[in-house]
C-alpha cells in the first residue's frame, strides 16, 4: 500500500508534463480540468494511507536507487507529511480553480498549470520523503519550478530579476541544506529519516553538530524567507497572483518551516538551536510586521505579513517547550488558510481596479461587498480577532510567551515582545481592511471596479469559511490532524492541550486585547510613521544589495572562467604541464634525501649508442626549430622514428621495431598528404619573450622526464612477467611471449585497444567525409608526374610480394616476431603504395572492399573468437590450442588466439586504409568536382556540411 506514495508524487509530475499538451490541443478549460483532476488523483491515492497516519503509524516505501550513495527512492507517510500533503493538494485545488478564472483569456494556462503541478509534485515529494537525499532532490525541484513560476511573465524585466533572486537565494540555501544532510548522513551512517530522527542524541554530541545545524538552518531560513534572506519573497510578488497565493502563502515558503519541524527531534533541544531559531524568528516576526504596514502595495503588504508570520512560526519552533511546537504546527495550518484567501482577494481587487496601490484604492465595500466580506474575514484571522482561526494560534503564542522560563529574570521580555508583534500585525491588518474597503472614495483608478462573477470568489470564500470553522469548532475541524502532526514533529506524544475558544480571563487574553487596542492606535498614527520612515530609514533595500552582489559575482565568475577556461590550447597545455611538474617536484622533494642514481650497475654505452643519441637529438631539435618549414620538419620527424625503431632492435624488441618501422611509414605518408591542405603561408614567429618562456617550460619538462627516466632505469625492479614467460608455450600455445600476451593472456585489453583504434579511425572518417578543401597548386612538373611511372611499374610485382609477406608475418606471429598488428600495418603500407602508384579511384575500384565493413569484420571476428569459449562454460576470450591434422600440410599446431589475431589484423588494415584514403581523396579533383553519392548511412551526417 505504501507504493501509493511515489505514485501520488509521480501522478503530479507526469500530469505537469501533460497539461501543456492538453492546453494546446483542447483549450484552457480542459487544461484546468486536467490539472484539477491530477491533484484529485494524487489526493485519492493518499487517502488509503491517511487513517494509519492519523493513528500515529508511519508507512514507508523503499526502492533502491543508488544504494552505494545511500540514495533510495524512499517515501514515508506520517502525521506531519499528511498535514502538509493536505495543504499542498487542497489549496492547490483551490488555486487551480481561482487561476482558471483569474488569468486573462488569451493565456492558454498550459504553461502555468503544468509548472504549478510540477511544483506541487516536488513539494509533495519534499514532505513525503523518507530518504533525506531524495528530499533534497525534491527541494531543489521546488526551487527550480518556483523560479519558472515567478518568471511566468517573462517579458517583464522585474519578473526575471525577481525569479533569479528567488532562485539564487533558495537554490543557494538548497546547497547548504545538501551539505548539512550529507553531514547528517555521515554522523548517523544513514540518510533514512527514521534512523536520523532516532539518533538525535548522537547527532547533538557530535563535534560537527554546530556546523550541520547552521547548514540545515540556512536551507530552511532561505526557503522560509527569514531575515536576512527575506528579501526575495516580496520581490517574488512579480508572479501572477494565483502563484503567489499558492507558493508564498501555503507551500513553498512553508517548506523551510516543514524542514525545521521534520528534523526537530534530531536537531532541537540545544542552546544553539534555541538561540539561532528563536532569534531569527523573532527578528523576522518584528521586521516583517513593521515593514508590512509601510507598504502601499497591496501584495507587498501581504508579502511582508507572510514574512512576519513565517518568523512567528520559526520563533515558536525555536522555543523549547513542546507546546510551542504544537502552536507552530497550528499556525502553519491557519496561516496557509487565511493568507491564501487574502492573496486571492488581493488578486481580485487588483484585477478590478487595475492597480494595487492602497493610496488609490478606497471605499470598495460599496461596489464589491462580497469580496470585501471575504477579505475582512481573512484579515480578521490574520489580526487574531476572536472566533477566527488566527485568534487561536495567536493565543497559544501569547501563552507560550508568558510561560516560557528560558530567560530567567528577564521573563517580562517575551510577553512584551509578543504584544509588540501583535500590535504591529493588528495594525497592518486594519490597514488592509480600512484602507481598501472604506476610507473615502477611490482615487483615480484605471478601471471602474465592480463585483466579479461568482466563480472567482469561490476559492477565497471556501478558505474564509474555513477560517470561521476552525475558529469556532477547532477541535472538530483540525483536532485530529493537529495532534498527529505535532506528535510526528515532536517525535513523541504532545502534552495535553485544549483547543477551545474560551480559556477564561487570563494574562494571554489581556495581552491579546492590549495588542488589538495598540494596533488600532498604531494604525491611527500611521501618517506620522510614514513620514518618520521616509525621512530616517536608510535605504538599504535588500534587492539592490542583492543585485550588487549578484552582478559582482557574475563579473568574478567571468574572470575566474577566463583564467580556468581561457579557450586556449596553449594555456590548457601549460596548466597540465605545470600540474604534472608540481606533482613530480613534490614527489621528488618529498622523498627526502633520495639519490637520483638508484644503484643498479649501469650497462656500458657503446659508440653506436652515442651516435644514435646524436641523431635522435638532431632529429628532435631539428623538428622543433624548423617546424615552420613543414616538409623539412616531417623529414626530421622520420629521423627520430627510425632511431626509435633502431633502439627497439638494440634492446631486444624485434616486435616493437617492426611495428615502429611500419607505423613510421604510415605516419609520414599521412603527414605528407595533409601538408597539401594546411595553409601555406609561414606563420609569424611568436614574440621573443614568449619563445623564451616556452623554451624554459619545454626544457624543464625534458629535464624532469629525463631525470625520472634515469632514476627509474637505475633502480632494481621485480618484473611480473615471469609467469607470462613460463606459461606462454603451455598455456598460450606460442613461443613469442609478447604476441601471446597480446592475443591470449591480455586479449581483453587488446580487444579494447583495437576498438579504440577503430573509434579513432571512424572519428577521422566522420571529420573528413564530405569535407572540401582547396589543395595547394602543384607545380606543372609534379602535375605531370602525378603517378610516377617507375613506382607504378615497381608496384606490380611488389604488391603481391608485400601481401604474401604480410600473410607470413601474420601466421608466424604467435611464435616469432610478427602478428596481427605488424601484418596489418605492412598490408596497409603495401596498399597505400598502390594508391600512390596508380591513384585512389582505380585502386578502390579493384579492391572492392568497403573499409567500414572491414572494421565490422575485424572487430566481429575478434569478439566471436572470444565468445566461442562461452558455450563451453568458459569465460569470455578463453583460448584453445592444440595439434590439428591439415591435409597436405600435416599435423599443425594451431591456437584459437590466432583467429583473434586475424581480427586484429583486419581492424588495423581497415584503420590505415580508411584514414589515408580519406585524406587522399580530399585531393582528387574528380571528387571535388562532383562528390559521388554514397548510400552509406555513416556518411549521412556530414552531408549537410557539403551542402
Amino acid at each position: 500500500m505504501s507504493l501509493l506514495l511515489p505514485l501520488s508524487v509521480l501522478a503530479l509530475l507526469l500530469a505537469g508534463g501533460a497539461v501543456p499538451a492538453v492546453a494546446a490541443r483542447l483549450g484552457r478549460s480542459a487544461a484546468a480540468w486536467c490539472a484539477s483532476g491530477a491533484l484529485a488523483l494524487a489526493a485519492l491515492l493518499l487517502v488509503p494511507l491517511a487513517p494509519r497516519a492519523l493513528a500515529g503509524d508511519v508507512a514507508v516505501f523503499r526502492l533502491a536507487w543508488l544504494p552505494e550513495w545511500g540514495l533510495d527512492l524512499a517515501f514515508r507517510m506520517d502525521g506531519l507529511g499528511l498535514l502538509f500533503a493536505i495543504l499542498i493538494l487542497g489549496i492547490g485545488q483551490l488555486v487551480i480553480l481561482y487561476g482558471a478564472y483569474y488569468m486573462p483569456q488569451q493565456d492558454g494556462l498550459g504553461r502555468l498549470f503544468g509548472t504549478l503541478l510540477a511544483f506541487a509534485g516536488a513539494m509533495l515529494g519534499v514532505v513525503l520523503s523518507e530518504n533525506l537525499l531524495l528530499m533534497v532532490v525534491f527541494w531543489e525541484i521546488t526551487s527550480i519550478t518556483s523560479f519558472l513560476l515567478i518568471a511566468y511573465k517573462h517579458d517583464s524585466v522585474e519578473a526575471r530579476i525577481a525569479a533569479r533572486m528567488a532562485l539564487a537565494v533558495t537554490g543557494g540555501g538548497g546547497l547548504a541544506l545538501l551539505a548539512g544532510v550529507l553531514l547528517l548522513g555521515h554522523m548517523v551512517g544513514s540518510f533514512e529519516l527514521s534512523a536520523v530522527l532516532a539518533a538525535g542524541e548522537a547527532i547533538q554530541q557530535h563535534p560537527l553538530y554546530s556546523l550541520t545545524l547552521v547548514l540545515v538552518l540556512l536551507g530552511a531560513f532561505t526557503k522560509s524567507a527569514q531575515f536576512p534572506f527575506h528579501f526575495w519573497l516580496p520581490n517574488a510578488m512579480a508572479a501572477p497572483t494565483p502563484v503567489s497565493a499558492y507558493l508564498h502563502s501555503a507551500t513553498m515558503v512553508k517548506a523551510g518551516v516543514f524542514l525545521l519541524l521534520r528534523l526537530y527531534p534530531a536537531l532541537s533541544g540545544t542552546e544553539q538551536w534555541f538561540l539561532l531559531v528563536t532569534l531569527t524568528g523573532a527578528v523576522t516576526l518584528a521586521y516583517g510586521a513593521y515593514v508590512a504596514l509601510l507598504k502601499h502595495d497591496l501584495k507587498g503588504l501581504l508579502a511582508y505579513s507572510t514574512v512576519s508570520h513565517l518568523g512567528l512560526i520559526t520563533f515558536l519552533i525555536g522555543m523549547e517547550s513542546p507546546l510551542s511546537t504544537v502552536a507552530a504546527v497550528f499556525h502553519v495550518i491557519n496561516h496557509a488558510i487565511f493568507k491564501a484567501s487574502l492573496f486571492m482577494a488581493a488578486g481580485i481587487i487588483d484585477h478590478e481596479c487595475g492597480t494595487r496601490d492602497m493610496r488609490r484604492i478606497n471605499g470598495l465595500f460599496r461596489v464589491m461587498p462580497r469580496t470585501a466580506v471575504l477579505g475582512m474575514v481573512a484579515a480578521g484571522a490574520m489580526a487574531g480577532v476572536p472566533l477566527l482561526n488566527g485568534f487561536l494560534s495567536k493565543e497559544m503564542f501569547f501563552t507560550e510567551a508568558v510561560e516560557a522560563g528560558a530567560l530567567g529574570g528577564y521573563a517580562y521580555v517575551l510577553p512584551v515582545f509578543a504584544t509588540f508583534a501583535g500590535i504591529l500585525s493588528v495594525a497592518y491588518s486594519i490597514r488592509f481592511v480600512h484602507d481598501v474597503f472604506f476610507n473615502g472614495e477611490p482615487v483615480d483608478l484605471p478601471r471602474v471596479p465592480q463585483e466579479p462573477p461568482g466563480w472567482i470568489s469561490l476559492p477565497a470564500g471556501i478558505l474564509a469559511a474555513l477560517c470561521l470553522v476552525v475558529g469556532l469548532v477547532p477541535q472538530f475541524a483540525v483536532g485530529a490532524i493537529l495532534w498527529t502532526a505535532s506528535a510526528a514533529a515532536l517525535g513523541a506524544e504532545p502534552p495535553a492541550y485544549k483547543l477551545v475558544i474560551w480559556h477564561g480571563f487570563n494574562l494571554p487574553l489581556v495581552l491579546s486585547m492590549a495588542a488589538t487596542a495598540g494596533g488600532i492606535v498604531w494604525y491611527l498614527f500611521r501618517g506620522v510613521l510614514f513620514e518618520l520612515h521616509d525621512r530616517y530609514a536608510p535605504n538599504v533595500a535588500g534587492p539592490a544589495a542583492f543585485e550588487r552582489v549578484f552582478n559582482g559575482a557574475v563579473v568574478a565568475a567571468r574572470a575566474a572562467l577566463g583564467v580556468a577556461d581561457p579557450r586556449s590550447l596553449r594555456r590548457y597545455t601549460l596548466y597540465l604541464l605545470g600540474g604534472a611538474g608540481a606533482l613530480g617536484l613534490a614527489g621528488f622533494l618529498g622523498a627526502g634525501p633520495a639519490r637520483l642514481d638508484g644503484g643498479l650497475p649501469p650497462t656500458p654505452a657503446d659508440p653506436a649508442a652515442h651516435g644514435a643519441l646524436l641523431a635522435l637529438v638532431f632529429g628532435a631539435v631539428g623538428c622543433a626549430v624548423l617546424h615552420r618549414n613543414r616538409l623539412v620538419a616531417v623529414a626530421f620527424l622520420s629521423v627520430v622514428g627510425l632511431i626509435v625503431a633502431l633502439t627497439f632492435i638494440r634492446f631486444s624488441a624485434p616486435d616493437l621495431a617492426l611495428t615502429q618501422l611500419s607505423v613510421e611509414v604510415v605516419t609520414i605518408v599521412l603527414l605528407l598528404l595533409s601538408l597539401r591542405f594546411v595553409p601555406g603561408e609561414a606563420p609569424a614567429e611568436a614574440p621573443c619573450r614568449r619563445r623564451l618562456f616556452d623554451g624554459i617550460v619545454a626544457g624543464g619538462a625534458g629535464l624532469g622526464v629525463g631525470m625520472l627516466a634515469y632514476a627509474m632505469m637505475t633502480r632494481p625492479f621485480e618484473t611480473i612477467s615471469g609467469w607470462f614467460t613460463a606459461n606462454a608455450v603451455d598455456g598460450g600455445g606460442g613461443t613469442n611471449v609478447v604476441n601471446v600476451i597480446l592475443v591470449d593472456f591480455r586479449s581483453f585489453d587488446t580487444l579494447g585497444e583495437v576498438t579504440v583504434l577503430a573509434v579513432a579511425a571512424l572519428g577521422a572518417h566522420a571529420l573528413l567525409d564530405g569535407l572540401r578543401l582547396r589543395p595547394h597548386a602543384l607545380s606543372a612538373e609534379s602535375e605531370a608526374d602525378r603517378h610516377p611511372i617507375m613506382l607504378a611499374m615497381l608496384m606490380r610485382p611488389l604488391l603481391p610480394l608485400a601481401l604474401a609477406f604480410a600473410f607470413y608475418i601474420l601466421l608466424r606471429g604467435h611464435n616469432l616476431p610478427g602478428g596481427g598488428f605488424i601484418a596489418g600495418l605492412i598490408t596497409g603500407v603495401a596498399l597505400i603504395l598502390q594508391y600512390l602508384a596508380v591513384g585512389i579511384e582505380p585502386t578502390s575500384a579493384r579492391l572492392r572492399v568497403d573499409h567500414l565493413r572491414l572494421f565490422a569484420a575485424g572487430l566481429g571476428l575478434a569478439v566471436v573468437t572470444g565468445l566461442a569459449s562461452m558455450p563451453l562454460g568458459l569465460p569470455f576470450l578463453t583460448s584453445w590450442h592444440g595439434y590439428v591434422p591439415i591435409p597436405l600440410v600435416g599435423k599443425t599446431h594451431l591456437a584459437s588466439a590466432m583467429l583473434f589475431d586475424v581480427g586484429v589484423y583486419l581492424t588495423v588494415v581497415a584503420t590505415v586504409l580508411l584514414i589515408l584514403s580519406e585524406i587522399g581523396k580530399l585531393s582528387t579533383r574528380e571528387r571535388a568536382a562532383a562528390p559521388p553519392p554514397r548510400a552509406n548511412p555513416a556518411s549521412a551526417m556530414p552531408e549537410e556540411v557539403r551542402a
Binding site: L569, L671, P683, A698, G702, V705, S721, F821
Partner: protein, 113 residues
C-alpha cells in the same frame, strides 16, 4: 647506456613540449608525435636495458643471455599503433578546422575579446 637513454627521452620531451606550445595545428601534431615516442621509450625502458635476447621461448636460453621483459613490449606495441590512430585523428581534426574556419590557428583568439 641508461644516461644515453634518459638524455634521448628528455630531448624528445623537450622538443615535443616546445612544439605543443606553438600556435598552429601542424607543429602541435608533430609535438604529440614526438611526445608519444618519448612515452613509448619510457615505458619500454621500464623493462630495463640489460636484456640481451628477445622475449622468445625457443628451447634453452643461451648461456649468459638475459631475455627481455615481454610485458613492457606488449604495452608499447599497442601504444605505437594507437598513437598512429590518435595522430591521424588529430590531423583529420586540423583539416576539418581548415575547412570550417579557413585557418590553422590553434587558439580561438577572435572570440576572446
Amino acid at each position: 647506456m641508461e644516461l644515453v637513454m634518459a638524455t634521448g627521452i628528455g630531448a624528445l620531451v623537450a622538443a615535443g613540449v616546445w612544439l605543443l606550445l606553438r600556435e598552429r595545428t601542424f607543429p602541435v601534431v608533430l609535438g604529440l608525435a614526438l611526445l608519444s615516442y618519448a612515452a613509448n621509450l619510457f615505458i619500454f625502458a621500464g623493462g630495463r636495458l640489460s636484456a640481451t635476447s628477445p622475449p622468445l621461448v625457443l628451447g634453452e636460453v643461451a648461456a649468459g643471455a638475459t631475455p627481455a621483459d615481454p610485458l613492457p613490449q606488449a604495452l608499447v606495441l599497442t601504444a605505437i599503433v594507437i598513437s598512429f590512430g590518435t595522430t591521424a585523428y588529430l590531423v583529420a581534426l586540423s583539416l576539418r578546422l581548415v575547412g570550417e574556419s579557413g585557418t590553422d590557428e590553434v587558439d580561438d583568439r577572435g572570440d576572446q575579446a
